[in-house]
Amino acid sequence: MWAAWTQGEEETRALAARLAAGLEPADVVALIGELGSGKTRFTEGACRALGYAGRVRSPTFVLVHVYRGRLPIYHFDLYRWELPGASAELAEWEEWMDGGGVSFVEWADRLGTALPERAILVRLAHAGGERRRVVVEAPPDRWARLRPHLPPGEEAGETATREAAGAPPPREEG
């Protein structure tokens, strides 16, 4: 687990760009955080580093945007994903995620146990005004690949597990 603070959108985008430099095909970045915590901004910063200069907007309404960077980029948004037991419907998306592209999944906590094991978790939390707390976790092989790209931050030992960063935050509107 790695954690740091960002002081505004620009820093969130810059941090995402550094992380994106270490991404490879079939990587899934799971973005978890409340409304307005910077999930779309994070994706935008990552897209810039992945060679896509066009508009990166919230995919809430259409559920997924596809961008052409140096890799295909799939920008998912599960905000409207409310159906209990929807995991059976995931097959189609998993095909996309397993392909030659990189996926960013906003509101990924809504996948629950259906979240792919290999996912790189990025938790974003409001920390007063423009400030955000960013926590990154990844399986060991991916973490080894990503860590050199990230700036210094607070780090927990190798025993860090998903649980160490706490359970997914409760839905704020629920």
């Binding site: 409304l35 779309t40 907007r57 919230s58 809430t60 559920l63 409310e82």
Partner: protein, 355 residues
């Protein structure tokens, strides 16, 4: 010409039958089914959305044909929304339209969803018709785009949202206020009894004074969320009357922030381009506060405002048919390998002259 029009770009499955009657069209039948209303869950799952469109499109077409006392053999062209939208949903409509058109050897016309929303203003035959060039704003749950329409079917993008669509911001703030999703219309109803100046939520002007026509609604949405957190919402206020007033005031104040920016941006687009006509369409164009603001501000700026009837502001197939007629009248049609184009940035006409 008798035209079938199909719309499946997101949650709604819609079909319409229109007869070309220049400069307008006669609407013979319209049938729609909304997954947002019919389903017993609030959201949409892409695979499920596609399946629902597939399940609904045939029966809806049969019902529309029956209502108009027509049959498949009477159709002379098929129009379909081919983008932008949810890819799986678009594909259902596009595949259905292509198969039907190809089987009957009649033209198929792919229609841009933004262009279709603007054409909704032509569905009311009694209303004055905007004459291109005009400025168009399409604001809905999935769109916030400002375009310059050079002629029907010919337009260029002047500005767009950088993050959330206007309707999406309304829906998300409505959900924060406990109104369910999509709660845009409920938020607008609550706002009608609230004070627009109660709370000062930020506006993202994005270089308006230098002609910036992009918009952003993520900042104001986030400001509402943080404001509600600070006020202890949803636990406080406790008193039911105070609570209702608080919700109404937040709704009205947030609505004011969105309406003020949208109105300023489209009027700036008119003055920057020297265009005198303005069409505002899409689901958010049904918002009474936005309509009132535009009606108040357009005249003094020398701008003639055109608004579709509220019933035609949301997604529907009649507007798709109306937009397609302009292409058909010019002899344009799409090829039978018409693709679905989920991103607006990838749109190109995909039209060819009829042989």
């Amino acid at each position: 010409m008798l035209l079938l029009a199909i719309e499946t770009s997101c949650d709604d499955t819609c079909v319409a039958l229109l007869r070309d009657r220049p400069p307008g069209a006669e609407l013979l039948a319209h049938r729609a089914a909304s997954q947002a209303v019919h389903a017993d869950f609030a959201g949409v799952v892409p695979e499920l959305a596609s399946r629902e469109h597939m399940r609904l499109i045939g029966p809806l077409l049969r019902a529309a044909l029956a209502a108009a006392r027509l049959d498949l053999g009477d159709l002379e062209a098929v129009a379909v929304t081919s983008g932008p939208g949810l890819v799986g949903s678009l594909l259902v409509g596009v595949s259905f339209a292509k198969a039907l058109a190809y089987a009957r050897r009649i033209p198929v016309v792919g229609v841009n969803h933004v262009e279709a929303h603007l054409a909704a203003v032509l569905l009311d035959e009694r209303a004055a018709r905007p004459k291109p060039p005009f400025i168009g704003l399409v604001a809905s749950g999935g769109h916030t785009e400002i375009v310059r329409v050079l002629d029907w079917g010919r337009w260029e993008l002047l500005g767009a949202t950088r993050d959330d669509a206007a309707g999406e911001a309304f829906d998300k703030v409505a959900k924060l206020l406990g109104m369910g999703f999509p709660g845009g219309p409920a938020l607008s109803r609550a706002a009608s009894s609230g004070r627009a100046a109660a709370f000062d939520f930020p506006r993202a002007w994005l270089d308006l004074e230098r002609g910036g026509l992009d918009v952003s609604f993520s900042g104001p949405k986030t400001a509402v969320k943080l404001f509600l957190d600070r006020r202890g919402w949803p636990e406080r206020p406790v008193d039911p009357i105070e609570r209702a007033r608080f919700v109404a005031d937040v709704a009205a104040s947030f609505q004011e922030a969105v309406v003020e920016v949208l109105a300023a941006k489209v009027l700036e687009a008119c003055s920057r381009t020297g265009v005198r006509g303005l069409v505002v369409a899409g689901g958010v164009a049904a918002n009474p506060a936005l309509r009132a603001r535009l009606e108040r501000d357009a005249g003094p700026r020398g701008v003639t405002l055109h608004l579709p009837a509220p019933a035609w502001c949301g997604d529907n197939a009649a507007m798709v048919g109306m937009a397609a007629l302009h292409h058909l009248r010019r002899g344009e049609r799409s090829r039978y390998d018409l693709p679905a184009v989920p991103n607006l940035d990838d749109w190109d006409g995909f039209y060819e002259a009829a042989r």
